[in-house]
Symmetry: C2
Subunit: 214 residues, 2 copies
């Protein structure tokens, strides 16, 4: 049985996992979960059996149902080691990959995600999203001065890069001035040349509305 | 040279790392960083050389300066495997440990941390903190129904438990009704009986003000 990914085309967390699946050449079926229709299908009782957090993605694989994007990516890397998403046998460099990943997936994205913006209210949401992404990228740019090579940590694609690309997409949605961040911008451009990153893009997903296809 | 932990007594992220260091029996020096004085010492140029994110903790160990609590904990577990903070040779259970950890360290704490509350404004901050911890714990309680034994994942202490304890402390600060969460409450109580958890408590830290010692 093929793995099944419960996903939303524009969700950062779904996108990270799609890149990992594509890099590792894992074939899977996409089961779209619409985050906006009917108040959000991710909050239905049926979906919450798969992921009690009521968030995408969830991945059914190897007889398990996994949730939480970074946990899924680490699982995929442990069970399908090639190509690696972490430097092997280098705990310090692995810590750098996790630091960059968490600075985005823990330090930026959760503060500007859909449910937080909804609770915050329409009046502040654009300025709020802009503020936290801008501030997070100022910090990230400094971290990358120490860790980056061709990609976020050294010259090999890692979990950190899977977090970077969807966050840049959100930065653009919130009109963050990316010219402040030359390292992030350069890495983002290089990553987008890779086939796995192209295949995982929101515009290539079955639930992407026609008017948003590129 | 002893490792040096840059820490604030009441910071959740510092606290997680202190528990890991105590469990593994690693001796270290504490260098307190006051998060409130003079607008926050974590934002000084000097400290930001250690951690460009301007957040505690940072740990100087093995000739490296590490930042980000979960990355530090994973590093300590890779370089000092005993006692383990993850189930060994079980990628599915490891994914559960990370899922619980991220649901707190990525899904709750960042939305109610000091800088977010400050930016939000005094008027909404208490209700906001209460809302997100309460909501996060509702989800977490459901996850723990599937994963917990004596502790968050099975019967061994793991990284997930290191995240749980400081978050319950914050839940109490924000007057969350913990009687809604019998599993979280039971695990929290059991963890607090362990010596490493006692030693890492804010009230035992050198920078804890006298009036807050227990």
């Amino acid at each position: 049985m093929k793995p099944v990914l419960y996903s939303y085309f524009r969700s950062s967390c779904s996108w990270r996992v799609r890149i990992a699946l594509a890099l590792k050449g894992i074939e899977y079926e996409t089961h779209p979960i619409h985050l906006l229709k009917d108040g959000g299908h991710q909050l239905s009782d049926e979906y919450k059996k798969l992921n009690p957090m009521g968030q995408v993605p969830a991945l059914v694989i190897d007889g398990h149902t996994l949730a939480d994007s970074l946990s899924i990516i680490e699982y995929l890397d442990e069970t399908r080691p090639d190509p690696p998403l972490f430097p092997r046998n280098d705990p310090h460099k692995k810590a750098q990959v996790r630091q960059v990943s968490h600075s985005i997936a823990g330090g930026i994205q959760p503060i500007q995600n859909l449910s937080v913006l909804k609770y915050l209210g329409d009046e502040r949401k654009f300025e709020w999203g802009h503020h936290w992404i801008n501030k997070g990228f100022q910090n990230l740019e400094k971290i990358l001065q120490n860790t980056s090579g061709k990609y976020c940590v050294g010259d090999a694609v890692s979990m950190a890069d899977l977090c970077l690309v969807p966050q840049v997409y959100n930065a653009n949605r919130f009109k963050v001035d990316m010219s402040q961040f030359p390292i992030i911008s350069r890495i983002h451009e290089d990553l987008n040349k890779l086939e796995a990153f192209k295949a995982a893009h929101p515009s290539k997903q079955p639930d992407c509305p026609d008017e948003m296809r590129e």
